[in-house]
């Protein structure tokens, strides 16, 4: 019964979003307030309806309702509850439902938190989001319906892919989708602005929190995915430049550019049509990613059951959404006049450079991901584009990016003093030189790229701190005075500092991976192996029975010198239902380095293959990403986004609070 109810809710949601995508936009054109207000009601109703559909599917999974094809194919009664719940989006149909649910969540959030928007703008934004909702609801209902029943329910289901039976599945897709879909708000704002033909500081101020929120979610989502790969794969890889990873990384790159360019629109009233274009492209890349993953045109390790009909349907959606918005852009954007003159060396100039490098970076990833497809379509040779390509093209683009990232915030708006900024950054130069020397000494001349990377990280970290101390006047005035300054500084400024510092931490983590040590040995029980300065002793391997797997669980004692560090228990799990083996690695971290241990197969003589890795600074990759997202969240909490709102609502003509920073 719940399943039919869910199905019905989904169909009803389609009709509601059809209304949401038409009535408000007509209302806005005719300046009819009642019609415009329909958008808000519809967005909330669609959210509730899709939420009910989601709950119904989840219920079917929890009670193992094997009359539903989707549940049969992806669940099993023996599966732990966590994976019954997260398994809802562990398949194509369910993940599309999650996608649409996130979309309706964003639309509902816009409906609730946009009381300060001019009604016409709000109506148009909600209508555009409604249109996207209509497209994807149609897609689900016609090609990927999770509520279809089976004629003869089997006694049990096929189970969930063992690799997905990991807590990572509970959090990674929801964050990722929230990120992807969150950019639909910026997209909707851009399209609405194009319809109105008006982009100004107020527009930028409205869009920014939404962009920031989705950027934070996407950052967390990507980082979680990469961490998941890191601890599951058994050899510590965390990024593969796989097409599906690239599909999530491209919106992140352009989204980052968008956050920065919208600052220029807000503060200096220029870069308008460019910012609109970025807003359109960011969400378009999310859509293109959906297409690439679910149509089967690209080969990837992240396989989905693909189907040409789905591919064709999504392609039509792309044509409507991206083609439509870009056509509107071509017609309307030329009339968006920018103001705000500035010299090339200025804060604006630095932000333009940021946009240039991030866009080129994104284009590089795009080219690397899709060039094999183009070549194939032109009857060219079959090619592979893997990490060596991206290391040689994308990474060099990010070097000037990191350098400029240290200097940019030091430059004044309109006209900056490059030499002065460099002088104030002497600390950063010293830090970079020291880091390079230390890295060179410690690794006795290790890989040159790693040394450059660590120097860049030190440069950026020191530059960010230098800028922050200068801003709050630390060391220049009494501590209480600078504390007061720090408190009165807009949260957005602290957020920027944190996010940029997170980037420095991330760069350090990435660069240091060149110093990894590895030991892969066949070890008998009681045998030892050595990695870096640690000794691992394989004490025992015991059979363990899990809810739906059998496992071999090793007990490995780790010592350093004569001191015992810890005992770890890596496992090999064998899932009887799927006849598939997964690896549970053990990671011992002190936040400066990871000791990573994976258990391999046993040979005929009862010896076990042990893989042990010592990975300095690797945890910083994810710590850095979390700091970045935290910076975004701090910036999001800035009073300006809300104060401006309340004032305008109450006083009507209140002056916008002076732009901070």
């Amino acid at each position: 019964m719940f399943v039919e109810l869910g199905h019905f809710c989904l169909i009803l949601a389609l009709f509601v979003t059809v209304v949401q995508s038409t009535v408000p936009i007509i209302g806005a054109a005719r300046r009819h307030l009642g019609w415009m207000a329909v958008g808000r009601t519809c967005a909330l109703a669609a959210f509730l309806l899709i939420g009910c559909a989601m709950a119904a599917l989840m219920h079917a999974y929890i009670v193992s309702d094997f009359s539903v094809i989707n549940v049969i194919e992806n669940s099993h009664t023996d599966k732990p509850l966590l994976y019954k719940i997260s398994g809802v989006w562990g398949n194509h149909e369910g993940s599309m439902l999650l996608w649409v649910f996130m979309l309706s969540l964003c639309a509902a959030a816009v409906a609730v938190f946009s009381a300060n928007l001019p009604p016409a703008l709000r109506a148009r934004v909600l209508a555009v989001q409604g249109m996207i909702g209509v497209g994807f609801l149609l897609f689900i209902l016609f090609t990927s319906n999770p509520f279809l029943r089976a004629a003869t329910p089997p006694a049990n289901g096929h189970g969930l892919n063992p690799v997905l039976q990991d807590p990572g599945l509970a959090f990674h897709p929801p964050f990722l989708y929230l990120g992807y879909v969150g950019f639909s708000v910026a997209f909707a704002f851009a399209v609405a602005a194009l319809i109105e033909g008006k982009v100004d500081a107020a527009w930028a101020r409205w869009v920014r929190p939404w962009t920031l929120a989705s950027w934070c979610a996407l950052t967390i989502g990507i980082a979680m995915g990469s961490w998941w790969a890191y601890y599951t794969l058994g050899w510590g890889g965390w990024w593969f430049w796989d097409p599906v990873e690239n599909a999530s990384f491209m919106p992140w790159l352009v989204g980052t550019a968008l956050i920065h360019s919208s600052i220029v629109v807000e503060k200096r009233d220029t870069l308008k049509s460019w910012t609109i274009l970025l807003a359109i492209i960011t969400f378009s890349l999310s859509l293109v990613g959906t297409f690439l993953v679910r149509s089967g045109v690209l080969t990837s390790v992240h396989a989905f059951a693909t189907d040409p009909a789905r591919g064709t349907f999504i392609l039509l959606l792309l044509l409507a959404a991206i083609g439509g918005s870009l056509t509107l852009y071509a017609v309307r954007a030329p009339s968006l006049q920018g103001g705000g003159l500035f010299a090339p060396v200025s804060r604006e100039g630095a932000l333009v450079l940021n946009n240039l490098l991030l866009s080129c970076g994104c284009a590089t990833v795009f080219l690397g991901t899709l060039y094999p497809l183009f070549l194939d379509a032109m009857n060219g040779p079959k090619l592979s584009v893997g990490f060596p390509f991206f290391n040689r093209t994308f990474v060099p683009l990010m070097v000037p990016m990191i350098i400029a990232l240290g200097i940019g915030p030091m430059l004044a708006w309109k006209r900056g003093d490059l030499l002065g900024a460099m002088q104030r950054l002497w600390v950063a130069f010293v830090a970079a030189a020291l880091a390079a020397l230390i890295a060179y000494y410690v690794t006795t001349g290790g890989p040159v790229f790693a040394i450059i990377g660590l120097a860049l990280a030190a440069w950026l970290g020191a530059a960010v701190i230098a800028e922050w101390t200068e801003r709050i006047g630390l060391f220049r005035m009494p501590l209480t005075a600078s504390l007061r300054r720090a408190i009165h500084l807009p949260r957005a400024a602290h957020g920027m500092t944190a996010a940029h510092f997170g980037m420095a931490v991330f760069v350090a983590g990435v660069s240091a991976s060149a110093f990894d040590r590895e030991a892969i040995e066949v070890v008998p029980l009681g045998g030892r192996l050595q990695v870096a300065s640690y000794t691992l002793e394989l004490q025992s391997v015991d059979p363990v029975t899990g809810p739906n797997y059998r496992a071999e669980r090793a007990t490995i004692r780790i010592t350093k010198g004569s001191e015992e560090i810890t005992i770890v228990h890596p496992e090999r799990r064998f899932f009887t239902l799927q006849q598939q083996t997964t690896s549970e690695t053990s990671i011992r971290t002190n936040f400066l380095a990871d000791l990573y241990v994976a258990l391999g197969e046993a040979d005929a003589a009862g010896k076990w293959t042990i893989r042990a890795y010592y990975k300095p600074l690797v945890p910083w990759i994810w710590i850095g990403a979390v700091i970045m997202a935290f910076g975004g969240a701090v910036s999001l909490s800035d009073r300006r986004w809300r104060v401006g709102v309340a004032q305008r609502r109450r006083l009507g003509s209140a002056v916008l609070p002076a732009a901070g920073e």
Partner: protein, 178 residues
């Protein structure tokens, strides 16, 4: 000029969409790879016969066009194409050479006893080395080799009746076989 600049994004997107549409065309599978060995001489190999009587080598492929089929008893798709191979051998009289890829002789023999033996000769590629030299990346794979011992075509995965009628047999005819 300025207008053109604003048209560029939608133009680029349409080109992209064209490529996407192209790669969705029916019958196109991005997962199949062309062989790098086309028009090259078949690699040297020396495999024990399944029958147990001596070895089979590259020389066995020369003199007239042959079809080399990599199979294994553990490979499920191989059973799908098996009836077609039987038809090729019995009705079309195509000389088929079987290479059992990473298979135990007893298992291969049982497979051929159960479903029929379409091969003129079967070599045992126990360690998969000959498969590697041919550029095999998954069984079944089928190679058409001309009279001079050069590889002319490869089929990846189980043969289909369509591929046999429209590609394999016409190619053998032009090569002057059977």
């Amino acid at each position: 000029m300025r207008r053109l600049l604003y048209l560029a994004p939608v133009g680029l997107f349409l080109v992209l969409a064209g490529y996407f549409a192209f790669s969705l065309r029916p019958g196109y599978d991005p997962h199949t790879l062309p062989s790098a060995m086309i028009d090259k001489e078949a690699p040297v190999f020396e495999l024990a016969r399944l029958a147990g009587n001596g070895t089979i080598g590259r020389e066995a492929l020369k003199g007239h066009p042959v079809v080399v089929n990599f199979f294994a008893s553990w490979c499920v798709p191989c059973r799908v194409e098996h009836p077609l191979l039987m038809r090729l051998a019995q009705r079309e009289h195509i000389p088929l050479i079987g290479i059992a890829y990473k298979d135990k002789p007893a298992d291969s023999a049982r497979l051929l006893a159960q479903f029929g033996d379409p091969y003129r000769d079967v070599g045992m590629d126990r360690d998969g080395r000959t498969g590697l030299d041919f550029g095999v990346y998954g069984v079944p794979e089928t190679y058409v080799i001309d009279a001079t011992g050069h590889i002319r075509k490869r089929f990846v995965g189980p043969l289909s009746a369509e591929a046999v009628d429209h590609e394999l047999l016409p190619l053998l005819r032009t090569l002057g076989g059977s």
